[in-house]
């Protein structure tokens, strides 16, 4: 067989295993073995064990389970309840009213959790019933929540950014810092949409909330303030170069345990549940990363990434056109795969295309590209047929998938606009990582 049909066979096996429902991590290992057997005489099994061991015992990876655990601990506290009660008095009188609690709540929880599904559940289980009771249009409540929950992937700590950083060997701390401003910008765009709704559809506004004094507001949010302090500690310690990402995560875990204990929700049961939850999720992600590390070794032997990058270069697309093409590519992939799998599966092929001088000159370095990938992967979370947030929303609100997807569609368009903002203003992502004080890893 010639090179081309071998490559076709390799890609076919990839689609076959993933498509028929073999667990993603095992599918990646299987494809990688096939690639090694087809394209090189190196012993596949021994190369596999060496590569996977190096990946699974790497220092960078240690941030992963700790950040997951921190989110799991706070998920099991009264945070969900306190979040709504604490935010409502501040948001009630803004144009658009309590819909803003969806967005601000998601932004706050995104900063303690790396997963958009956990963000969605924590914020939504309080805000959806409360918004319903007050007569906000269901479509707006559901749409803004589904959209804003995707912030969980962008605002640090973000599992997708950790996975991206480990995959292309880039600093997790820098990626986290890069996510802060774009995350806040996206939140501001969502809030702008709620304000616009307020003025454009006055007939749908529910009754305004009663005015509250500053004292009352502060009293209502006194439970929220420690969480904000924890966020400041975790992100601030990384920005000021006081701690590496892993060390900041350790602060986060200890802080979250202290918060839960102070609230009285830290029982032996909730401690064990949060720990075991972290063990499961982190084993899942680590397994995918192991498979991805082996696959990327195998891919190197197939020559596919180089050939594809060469082909793309020969087209002489402008970087902007390539960005548009990649956006479409990721949204299509995201229709079938979750965010983490799409990142690990594509980076071996996409990195040689975009890690080129023509990109870097425009300010699109690999840190910037990480934020870009997260935004486009986020978009896929709210598009059918697979959008993960849609599934969670379905369970939470009782609406069908189609309804949720339609309600979230304006948020999808806002994210498309966000890609535009990132392209025009790449500094939004790269400015914080450049100004932070780096702490060299141990």
């Amino acid at each position: 067989m010639d090179e081309l049909s071998l490559a076709a066979l390799f890609v076919f096996v990839l689609f076959l295993l993933l498509g028929t429902g073999v667990w993603v991590a095992l599918a990646l290992i299987g494809v990688a073995v096939v690639g090694m057997e087809l394209f090189t005489s190196r012993p596949a099994g021994d190369a596999m064990v060496t590569t996977i061991w190096a990946m699974s015992s790497s220092w960078t990876l240690t941030a992963l389970p700790l950040f997951i655990w921190m989110g799991e601990i706070l998920f099991r506290t009264r945070l969900s309840e306190d979040m709504f009660k604490g935010l409502a008095p501040w948001m009630g009188r803004l144009p658009g009213g309590l819909l803003h609690t969806n967005i601000v709540g998601c932004t706050v929880f995104a900063a303690v959790s790396g997963s958009s599904a956990a963000t969605l559940t924590t914020v939504g289980k309080m805000s959806i019933p409360e918004l319903r009771r007050r007569g906000y249009p269901e479509r707006m409540s559901v749409g803004t929540l589904a959209g804003a929950a995707t912030l969980g992937l962008m605002i640090p700590p973000s599992l997708t950014l950790i996975v991206y950083g480990v995959t292309i060997n880039e600093s997790i701390t820098k990626l986290f810092m890069a996510g802060v401003l774009p995350g806040l910008t996206l939140a501001a765009l969502f809030m702008g949409y709620v304000v616009a709704w307020h003025y454009l559809a006055p007939g749908q506004r529910p009754e305004a909330e009663p005015a509250t004094s500053l004292g009352e507001r502060l009293a209502a949010s006194r439970f929220l303030l420690p969480v904000l302090a924890l966020i400041a500690l975790v992100i601030g310690s990384m920005y000021l170069g006081f701690a590496t990402a892993t060390e900041a995560a350790a602060f986060g875990v200890i802080g979250a345990l202290a918060l839960a204990a102070a609230q009285g929700s830290l029982t032996r049961k909730s401690f064990a549940e949060s720990l075991m939850g972290a063990v499961r999720t982190s084993a899942m992600v680590a397994f995918i990363l192991m498979g991805a590390a082996f696959l990327s070794l195998s891919m190197g032997f197939t020559g596919l990434p180089r050939a594809l990058a060469g082909y793309i270069a020969s087209l002489e697309l402008s970087p902007f056109l390539l960005i548009v093409a990649l956006t479409v590519f990721y949204v299509v992939i995201g229709c079938f795969l979750d965010g983490i799998s799409s990142v690990v599966l594509t980076m071996a092929v996409v990195q040689p295309m975009v890690d080129v001088p023509a990109f870097r000159e425009l300010g699109f370095d690999m840190i910037w590209f990480g934020i870009f990938v997260v935004v486009v992967v986020e978009m896929a979370q709210i598009t059918p047929p697979i959008g993960f947030n849609l599934f969670v929303m379905q369970g939470l609100t009782g609406h069908g998938m189609g309804y949720v997807a339609r309600a979230a569609f304006p948020m999808f368009l806002i994210m498309v606009a966000m890609v535009g903002v990132l392209v025009v203003l790449p500094d939004l992502a790269t400015w914080l990582p450049e100004t932070m004080r780096a702490r060299p890893g141990p």
Binding site: V24, I52, T62, L120, A283
Partner: protein, 184 residues
């Protein structure tokens, strides 16, 4: 016969859970190592090789929990095709489990081989800790063997009884709805 079978069932389930619990222990140990490393920096004592130790804990926590996470439904897969199979879903599941069991066995086989080489050539960590590598690597051996057993177990069980041991994929709302509603 049934008694022996349920005994085996219980023993296997206990084995997977034990893997998960030991993994949790390694996660706690990892937190301990990282805190000790920070303390070492602040109070200016030395903790050579701390990053390597944290990495070993990470690897052990990941490998040992693989079968536990599998049965809890935590591992991600693309479900479109399996759902489309409808009442023939079992055949799709058998195919996935057969592929999975084969690959996990292959992985476990080479993990054993890799650690045997480490032992034979006396591989030492390149980091400051200078640990003989076979010690942390044995977690990879145990974890991959457990994963292979777990996948064969599920494959055989599905083929014989029509049901496997794997929980449906976990979505966070199942956690949310199982919680007591709180008023306050």
């Amino acid at each position: 016969m049934t008694g022996a079978r349920t005994g085996l069932r219980r023993a296997l389930d206990a084995l997977y859970l034990a893997g998960g619990i030991v993994a949790a222990g390694f996660l706690l140990a990892m937190l301990g190592v990282i805190v000790a490393q920070m303390a070492a920096r602040w109070f200016a004592f030395s903790f050579p090789g701390s990053a390597a130790y944290a990495g070993y804990c990470m690897a052990a926590a990941s490998f040992l929990a693989l079968p536990y996470a599998l049965n809890a439904g935590a591992h991600i897969r693309v479900g479109l095709f399996l759902t489309a199979l409808g009442r023939h879903r079992r055949w799709g599941e058998l195919w996935c489990l057969a592929i999975g069991a084969g690959l996990a066995t292959y992985f476990a086989w080479y993990a054993v081989r890799g650690v045997r080489f480490s032992l034979q050539f006396n591989d030492i960590s390149q980091d400051q800790d200078a640990t003989p590598l076979w010690i942390p690597q044995s977690a990879m051996v145990v974890g991959t063997i457990l994963l292979a057993i777990c996948l064969w177990d599920n494959l055989i069980r599905l083929a014989l009884t029509g049901r496997d041991n794997i929980a449906p994929e976990q979505l966070p709302e199942t956690i949310a709805t199982s919680e007591e509603p709180r008023h306050g």
